[in-house]
Symmetry: C2
Subunit: 244 residues, 2 copies
DNA sequence: GAGTGGTCTAGACCACTTG
DNA sequence: AAGTGGTCTAGACCACTCT
């Protein structure tokens, strides 16, 4: 583990434990550098992480201030339904609705950055927390990933684990988030009314070299889940689009 | 403007202009350092911005790769409806539904980090793009901000401009995004059906020192707007919550 | 083995706040 | 005026990719 990552984690723990209260000031960079026995640059790297996560506010000339003790979820927890479920103390499960291997549609060719005629695995799963239906996941995998997928694995739990076990690394993702009305199938599976509001997240995940590993459309029952996003003037990872 | 910011902007322009195609590799850090006449550290600062915005993928040992030419919106565009509207070539307008000054509710005291009994300005506005209703904005301002707000300013355009003109700086924000069904008032104002799905973004904005400047609940017509969020294993600004 | 990005250090100067 | 964070430099070593 990198030094700056370790420092950041320790600072975050200290905030969570109340050593530094929300609203209070933090020690200066030079003091922390001395305390941890690292250079000022390493302390700054650590703070860059905390600022991005919205834990700390920074302004020139003044000490940094704690603004929240939000323990941001790891990228892994955001990516894997199973991991996330366990982290909040719920029991995740999945029910395979459809699993097929077929030529990619034009849209999928674009999404997965394939060539025309390439095969994809397409999986529709209902995801449950403590046996309550929460989300419908419709995911397209390029063939090289898809061939790792079996119906039994999809039923029992985490495909993410399965895929990572074969050496694929999920490194970055983009999410397009909007609201839609439930279709007949959505309503039946999620046990909500027809046309009920659903939170939709269309996700595309890449490995460290930028190759697309999956493209998914997730639909959450409206009262089940929300997303929290933090952004700042320095680093902004969020934008707003007209979808029409 | 900081050197690394300038380098990042130039790289982004180069990608947008096709100098570096999506999918292709970028020059090495040392080559860019020489070309721009800066140190390697500055080039790395520039790339940190581009990686956070999802323009570039990075992995140890290999050259960086261009993964998208998404021109991420600035923090300002994300924050100001007026600025955003103009940036996409639409004409923004606003209609004040309610504007009141009153003691903060318990929830608002928490949201705005006030003390019990403090006053807030509460503004409900319908926002339109090219005269089409798109969003309802219900915003609470602490008194020191709210006293800058007049009904005429709220009608004519950007309160953000108004507030910034008085020296307040919007530095960071957190957004909780989910889906809700339209209430009777929502439906009437947005001209959608009762119980139509709406995309809801609850936003809290802070100044550089961490003070809360506003707390807002925005409801978008489902087919009007979507949010795009980019995240990565290194820096993750997004998380998923059970809202129940 | 050469090249590249990831990490860390030490030091310098500046802009800003008031610890 | 002192302290603090923001920026930039130069150099070092390591882990990893690539051919």
């Amino acid at each position: 583990m990198a030094l700056h990552r370790r420092v950041a984690d320790e600072m975050k723990s200290a905030v969570a434990e109340g050593v530094y209260a929300v609203g209070s000031s933090l020690p200066s960079e030079s003091e922390l550098a001395q305390r941890y026995g690292v250079s000022r640059g390493t302390i700054r790297q650590a703070f860059a992480l905390l600022v991005a996560e919205g834990v700390v506010a920074s302004r020139q000339g003044a000490r940094r201030v704690v603004v929240a003790d939000t323990r941001t979820q790891s990228f892994g927890q955001l990516h894997s339904f199973s991991l996330w479920a366990r982290s909040i103390g719920a029991v995740p499960s999945g029910r395979v609705v459809r699993l097929e291997r077929r030529p990619a549609t034009a849209v999928e060719v674009g999404q997965l950055e394939l060539s025309a005629g390439d095969l994809v695995f397409f999986l529709t799963r209902l995801r449950l927390l403590d046996d309550l239906p929460v989300m419908i996941e419709r995911t397209a995998y390029p063939d090289r990933i898809g061939e790792l997928i079996t119906a039994t694995a999809a039923e029992s739990g985490s495909l993410t684990d399965q895929i990572e076990a074969h050496g694929f690394v999920f490194a970055q993702a983009e999410h397009v988030i909007d609201a839609v009305a439930a279709t007949a199938e959505d309503a039946r599976l999620l046990e909500v009314g027809r046309r009920a509001p659903l939170l939709r997240a269309r996700r595309r995940t890449r490995d460290p070299s930028g190759l697309v590993l999956e493209s998914s459309e997730d639909r959450y029952a409206a009262d089940a889940v929300a997303f929290l996003v933090h952004n700042s003037a320095e680093v902004n990872t969020m934008s707003r689009f007209t979808s029409s």
